[in-house]
């Protein structure tokens, strides 16, 4: 099973590629709404892509209060 750090890397790679933000500008503790410049509809889009990528079902209420990549990675890791 991948480590949480590996999961985090994959999230950052996917987010950077999809929202066309330079990968080096993203880091684990960034607020992804601000760094990616996205709203909640785009956050749901990201959630869907992450679910497909990791082959998991992640209810969106798991994102309550989550705005940084590291915590998001922990949520995803708990479903692997």
């Amino acid at each position: 099973m991948p480590t949480t750090d590996h999961t985090l890397d994959q999230i950052l790679d996917l987010a950077a590629a999809h929202f066309k933000v330079p990968r080096e500008k993203l880091s684990a503790d960034d607020d992804f709404f601000k760094t990616l410049g996205i709203d909640s509809l785009q956050a749901l889009d990201l959630l869907t892509r992450l679910e497909h990528h990791f082959r998991i079902d992640l209810p969106d209420y798991e994102l309550q209060g989550v705005s940084d990549f590291r915590t998001l990675a922990n949520r995803i890791q708990a479903r692997l």
Partner: protein, 267 residues
């Protein structure tokens, strides 16, 4: 009227299928304008049905199929009118939208919802009236009404109960969670998954397939396997109106409408 371009939707007949395209920015919120256009469609459907064997409902907007009811309009209605008058207007709106949904549900031609992106609330309910749902892999479904202190009001609960197991219905309604197309297919909601951006193309291929068969036989089969839960649909309107009057709903709508942050669609 085989072609129509309204403020919120348009239709045309393409290769024997009526294509009803939703296009009200930002995400096909269903309010008075959309209802007016849907009623035009309802009136035109018998004539269109003579020229077509299928109906495809889809959205031309990038954001998705539909984000559901126009909550801003619903909130404004409550603010601008005396409570009793606002409630009467809400009931009238629901009765009108149910009338449209029921006609689509029972239409004697095969109906296909080609969905992508956000397919929430009333948008989800519009997809549910169709015989077949084809979703692209970025489609996301949700009944978020509980977050506002309401239940789905456009016929979603009786139709969901008709199509899915009760345990799944309870999960969706009571958590208000959104779910992706893989789960949607797993629970039997979605018939086919298309690549991103390809739902309409797949819907057209499906419409072409259904067009090969005798229309009367298809209509008879559909009527046999797809009962319309009229009594439950009326009961849903009563429950919705009962809940709507409460202060918690006004507060929930206010929070959504006045949210200047980026998270109104997240729970």
């Amino acid at each position: 009227m085989n072609d129509f371009k309204g403020q919120t939707l348009s239709w045309q007949i393409v290769n024997g299928a009526i294509e009803l395209a939703l296009h009200r920015d930002p995400c096909n919120e269903i309010g008075s304008l959309t209802l007016d256009d849907l009623e035009e469609f309802k009136a035109a459907l018998p004539g269109l049905g003579n020229e077509a064997h299928a109906l495809i409902v889809h959205s031309t907007l990038k954001a998705g199929f539909s984000a559901g009811a126009d909550l801003r309009e619903l909130f404004q209605r409550g603010q601008e009118m005396e409570k009793g008058a606002a409630l009467r207007e809400v009931r009238e709106f629901l009765e009108r939208i149910h009338s449209v949904m029921n006609v689509l549900d029972a239409a004697p031609l095969t109906t296909i919802a080609a969905v992508h992106g956000v397919t929430f609330g009333g948008g989800f309910e519009l997809a549910l009236v169709c015989d077949i749902i084809i979703a692209d892999r970025m489609a996301r479904f949700c009944f978020p009404e509980l977050r506002l202190g309401l239940i789905p009001g456009f016929g979603g609960i009786p139709r969901l109960k008709r199509d899915l197991g009760n345990a799944v219905v309870r999960d969706l309604l009571l958590t208000g969670r959104s779910f992706n197309v893989m789960k949607a297919q797993q629970i039997g909601l979605v018939s086919q998954i298309a690549a991103e951006g390809e739902a309409l193309r797949v819907a057209r291929a499906t419409a072409s397939q259904v067009g090969k068969f005798d229309r009367r036989t298809a209509a008879a089969a559909k009527e046999f396997v797809k009962p319309i839960p009229y009594e439950e649909l009326k009961r849903e309107i009563d429950i919705f109106c009962d809940l709507y009057s409460r202060p918690a709903v006004e507060e929930g709508l206010r929070k959504f409408v006045e949210n200047e942050g980026v998270q109104p669609y997240l729970p």
